[in-house]
């Protein structure tokens, strides 16, 4: 691959998102920086104001992609400042105490695609492609894995204990590269689309070629609507970041 082709990957990727239902708030959040850092988060609608929690996670990641326990504590502190806990009515206080949950998928593209680092907590999916072929996915590799309850990042630290058992810079990270790929592309998506993609990967028509044709927000909304109507995609907030 030529240097020119690699450099072309430093532009801002396409990003589209549609809510679960038109009249409902979208709890997915994404952020792109011109420095080649992208982040995607899927706020769990069972939890308290997970949209704000997802937004804090993606903004913080694009500012500082070194995900550590201190990073997480600072993010939790920022979320807690949004509310005066003691003045909340009992029901909101209970939900606030239980915590807000969200996934985090962060991507750093360095050296014009020669080094790509993907950080993933939860069930948002990163996909490395070459043309219409899927070269790698992270952190999930089969559609069946989406039926398990994902481990998400929570504003209540007791629910983040699973991170204490991990080496955050190793266990949550995949290192990829565009080097050697003829037509490299990188996709990041929340779980409904991730499940769709992995369940369609062995079909005659590659799911990558279908996504490649989606270039506008309107086209993305129509694509999601058609796949939901056909029963191939779960009705959920659905977001795609695509670097073609």
């Amino acid at each position: 691959m030529s240097t020119t082709e690699l450099r072309s990957k430093s532009r801002l990727p396409l990003a589209f998102s549609v809510p679960k239902r038109e009249d409902q708030h979208n709890e997915d959040s994404f952020h792109r920086s011109a420095k080649g850092i992208y982040a995607l988060s899927d706020g769990a609608s069972v939890s308290f104001d997970s949209a704000s929690w997802a937004r804090i996670l993606v903004r913080r990641y694009t500012r500082n992609p070194e995900f550590t326990h201190e990073w997480l504590s600072a993010a939790i502190a920022e979320f807690r400042k949004l509310y005066d806990r003691d003045s909340l009515p009992w029901m909101q206080q209970a939900s606030f105490d239980k915590g807000s949950f969200a996934s985090l998928l962060g991507v750093r593209i360095a050296d014009a695609g020669r080094a790509i680092q993907v950080l993933a907590v939860g069930d948002s999916l990163a996909v490395l492609c070459d043309g219409d072929r899927i070269k790698a996915t992270f952190p999930i590799s089969t559609a069946a894995e989406f039926t398990r309850s994902p481990r998400l990042i929570c504003t209540n630290p007791t629910h983040n204990a699973f991170l204490d058992q991990m080496d955050l810079a190793y266990d949550l990270v995949a290192d990829w590269t565009f080097r050697g790929l003829q037509q490299p592309a990188l996709l990041c998506m929340t779980d409904a689309l991730g499940h769709w993609l992995l369940s369609q990967r062995d079909r005659d028509s590659s799911p990558i070629s279908i996504l490649r044709k989606v270039r506008t927000p309107g086209a993305f909304a129509r694509f999601v609507q058609e796949e939901r109507a056909a029963g191939r995609m779960k009705r959920d907030d659905t977001t795609l970041i695509a670097l073609w």
Binding site: Q24, H25, E27, A44, S45, V46, F48, D49, S50, A51, S73, I76, D86, P89, W90, M91, Q92, Q93, A94, S95, D97, K98, N156, P157, T158
Partner: protein, 279 residues
């Protein structure tokens, strides 16, 4: 196959608590509180947990219709007070909006930095402890039949009702077994109503948890409560097993001589019908 219906706002399920408030419930447990006070506390906490599990950014969603039947002396009444007292079963959103009062309690929590801090937490109360008179269990189960029979007629496609019956003594208005049999015959298309029985003790005596056979039990009273209890459906059996209980094929939703932890677990297991569909 039964007990597969997804729970949604369009197809909620019903959870009905049937609580013995007879005189013997004032006995003090090893923890230093009366059985009535302990059961009331666990019931309030269970309602709190159910409501918060239904709370979304757009408010409380009506995944559950919840009722409380209280019985003591010669009375069988709604266990709710205030504006909820007029009926047995209410959508969970109405329950969330109609507490008797909100107390403040202290609780210790992880501060996120390796320490523990004490937080003042708002604790809603719907149900106060009472304990007086006899144990009209048969009449209470009869009222339960009327309540869930009517509910099932209105919700034929829903996950069937779950009835959690808590008692500490023997019925004083005749044998309740036939009434319980009738109760378990009521069904939706997704299966028969589930009746789980909890016999609370002050701490003395061997507890028997989710038994499989009548022969596991020593006396006729406990054997009758066993016969009155539904087998645990597979998903509840798994949940009970995950909590450390020894569960085998055919385990019934019945605890005899349950200690306070059993009371907590009984409520937690019984109020986990299935995950809801539209989270």
């Amino acid at each position: 196959m039964s007990y597969q219906a997804e729970i949604s706002r369009e197809n909620p399920t019903c959870i009905l608590f049937v609580i013995d408030q007879s005189g013997s419930m004032d006995e003090i447990t090893e923890a230093g509180r009366s059985k009535a006070a302990f059961v009331a506390d666990v019931l309030n906490k269970t309602l709190y947990t159910l409501i918060t599990s239904c709370s979304k950014s757009d408010g409380v969603r009506n995944y559950f219709d919840v009722g409380v039947i209280a019985y003591a002396g010669s009375q069988v009444t709604s266990g709710f007070g205030g504006t909820l007292a007029g009926d047995i079963v209410h959508p969970i959103q109405a329950i969330s909006e109609n507490t008797l009062r909100v107390e403040e309690r202290k609780k210790k929590v992880d501060d996120g930095a390796g320490g523990i801090i004490e937080l003042t937490t708002k604790f809603p109360v719907w149900f106060d402890p009472k304990s007086e008179g006899g144990t009209p269990m048969r009449a209470a189960l009869g009222r339960t039949i009327e309540t869930i029979g009517s509910w099932c007629e209105q919700h034929p496609g829903s996950y069937p009702p779950t009835i959690l019956h808590v008692t500490d003594g023997q019925s004083t208005d005749g044998t309740p077994e036939e009434t319980a049999d009738g109760l378990r015959q009521i069904s939706t298309k997704d299966g028969q109503a589930l009746l789980f029985n909890l016999h609370v003790n002050t701490g003395a005596g061997l507890e028997i948890v989710f038994p499989t056979a009548e022969s596991d039990l020593n006396d006729e009273y406990s054997r009758m409560l066993f016969r009155m209890s539904s087998p645990l459906p597979a998903h509840l059996a798994k949940f009970a097993g995950d909590k450390g209980y020894s569960i085998t094929d055919g385990s019934r939703g019945f605890i005899f001589n349950g200690d306070p932890q059993c009371v907590v677990d009984f409520f937690e297991i019984g109020t986990r019908p299935r995950l809801v569909a539209d989270r």
